[in-house]
Amino acid sequence: MGEMQIREDARAWQSGMAKNITFIVTKDCQLACKYCYLVGKNVKERMSWETAKTFIDYVLSHEDDFPEESVIWDFIGGEPFLEIDLIDMICDYLKQRMFELNHHWFNSYRFSFSTNGINYHEPKVQKFIEKNREHLSIGITIDGTEKKHDLNRVYKITERGSYKDVVRNIPLWLKQFPGGGTKVTISSADIPYITESVLHLYSLGIHEVNINVVFEDVWQEGDDKKFEEQLLSLADAIIDGGYYQDYACSFFTEQLGKPLDPVYDNNNWCGAGRMLSVDAAGNLYPCTRFAQYSLREKNAWIIGNIKDGIDKNKLRPFLTLDRITQSNSECLNCEIASGCAWCQGENYDAADTPTVFQRATAICKMHKARVRANNYYWNKLYRKLELEGKREEFEKNKKESNPTIC
């Protein structure tokens, strides 16, 4: 007796207690997604092994500066798996050095990836997965139906849709990561396809759909009404189809749309500054969204480099940033404020001056529409459960969605 199994949600792993450290291994990607916020993607900026090693040596030799119990070593791009050889070297080196140094993170680490899924099946990627299986968290981005996916997620130059090349890898991915969730991004043109897309993802066997609207100011007049209509139809489909029992969609969250207390709910939403990112040039950022390739209007917010380390002064704004100081009075007095997200990087990029203390509000109408549909969802669902005498059972077993926004 005494064999154990782990039961945990990999995406919410050590939520809030883990340091998130991101390697921007490449700024290249096979795709040119139309909503991608990475305005400066290119094929040149690939991280070298020397840069990666110097960064790792810096981080692991400053254990006192990183007291978090756990670490998530995150790999992004572009498309991270384009650099699978480098990633493999990085992960091997990390494992070896954390053990050799008796670093406290050897007892609690994950390697995390957000991939477009196109080369997921390739031998090198599969070998890597096999080697690091117990420490991996991999999310494949698929936007929904073929039509919806191919509307935005298209190849560079040819503009051919990538759906078929991704969907063929979903069964393998779900076999390896049965609880795997996907991230869906909604822009103005995607609104009509929301319902069918979420249901399509469920039909592929994906039980958790983390979906959010883009933070950028892309919304057209009337989008909020169309969005609300889609969410209402999605709510009906999820409830009438019984999906609520085993599937989750982050659009519907019970905590959404409540007033927030100015004192007790004053935390910053975003984790920028509590994370750390490094790029091919060896520059360090409070989050990848502050690297130059992510910014349309502003200069990169560099907090140091791999040679000199982190300039802690440049983290002070992030570590003292609160909701009230960055919000305007409409947000502050909003009676449905809870769950209204923001991205610190987009706030910075959209601000009137180079500051992280001015909250962008482009999603305001969309949030309000989402709250109305969310109210409808829970009112309808709870009434149904009460009539069926199943509410208590549902409460006990309900599957929470992951509120991750990035």
Partner: protein, 335 residues
């Protein structure tokens, strides 16, 4: 509320604060711009502070300047001896000049110094403090302070505070910004750039302070033609500075320009600025206690004993409730 207009008469107008004017060449503000600036100050009911270059201005400029009540900020190196005699604030950029100068007990002086010179020559300040109405020290490389520098500065403040204590006991009231200001203050009294004062540069554009002009001329906040246009004005206010609104180092310069230079945000000070201000605060506290041993003195002032030098380090314990109520009130009144 805006109270002061600082007019940089020339690109080479003396620095009176942390910034350097760099390699700028003479470029006098056009007379029409000067007159328009003065008119702006009159219309907005602002007290004007003219910052002079080191050469003698043409007579028509002097006449325009004298058309309004004002203050003169002049460098000790200025060639115009008559102007120096009239200066309200005189700026020294090095110690030798200060040691040779004829000091006026009715005047205010500013000494801009690098930390290394201060650490070497601070004892000379005892003599200066006794001879002038007020002496302000500006450490021009405060952002480079190390742990060792903090310790040295603490010792220097202690030694100078003993001298000032004796002066107070003897019935004198020397003013020395880094030691006596905190003793007199019941609330924040910072530089006020962007809030209580704004700068007009020779190009006819407004800047948060002269440092912003010298760093990047594009970084203006309006012009004489169209008036002031400060984006995110709330960020210059104390309520919108998360670290400073929890702080009681009331004498701190809270230099907006250094904030942006070191932390990239105008409302967030660096660790070095916070620690230096707290060493001054603590030295003032000790000095106040010592003066009170000789009799009642400033009974309304209370400087509490604290166990940190940087409010950022105790951010988990900040009492937010009262401050946030004030913030919400501010929001309701201003948006």
């Amino acid at each position: 509320m805006l109270e002061y207009l600082i007019i940089q008469l020339d690109d080479t107008s003396t620095s009176y604060c942390h910034y350097e004017i760099g390699a700028k060449e003479h470029k006098l503000m056009p007379l029409e711009t000067l007159k328009a600036g003065i008119r702006f100050g009159m219309l907005e009911n602002l007290m004007i502070q003219f910052v002079y270059p080191d050469y003698k201005l043409p007579d028509d400029y002097a006449a325009a300047i004298e058309s309004i009540d004002h203050n003169k900020i002049v460098s000790s190196l200025c060639e115009d001896e008559a102007l120096k005699a009239e200066a309200d604030v005189m700026i020294f950029h090095e110690w030798t000049g200060l040691s040779l100068a004829q000091l006026d007990e009715k005047k205010s002086y500013v000494l801009r110094t690098a930390k290394a010179d201060l650490f070497d020559r601070y004892l000379f300040l005892k003599d200066v403090i006794s001879k002038v109405m007020r002496l302000n020290i500006v450490i021009t490389d405060v952002e480079t302070f190390t742990e060792e520098d903090f310790e040295k500065y603490k010792q220097i403040l202690h030694i100078l505070s003993e001298h000032i204590e004796k002066a107070y006991v003897a019935g004198k009231s020397p003013q020395f910004n880094i030691l006596t200001d905190r003793m007199m203050l019941e609330k924040m009294n910072n530089c006020g750039a962007g809030i209580s004062n704004i700068t007009l540069a020779p190009n006819g554009k407004f800047y948060i302070c002269p440092a912003f002009y010298y760093e990047n001329e594009e970084d203006c906040v309006g012009n004489l033609e169209n008036g002031l246009d400060i984006k995110n004005p709330q960020l210059y206010k104390l309520d919108y500075a998360p670290i400073c609104r929890h702080c009681d180092a009331y004498q701190c310069k809270r230099c907006i320009w250094l904030n942006r230079k070191t932390t990239l945000e105008v409302n967030t000070p660096s660790h070095e600025q916070c620690v230096v201000a707290h060493l001054e605060r603590n030295a003032s506290r000790e000095m106040l206690e010592n003066i009170r041993k000789h009799g009642s003195f400033m009974p309304q002032i209370e400087i509490k004993e604290i166990d940190y030098l940087d409010p950022f380090d105790v951010r988990e314990h900040w009492d937010e409730e009262l401050l946030q109520q004030e913030l919400i009130k501010y929001h309701q009144e201003n948006y």
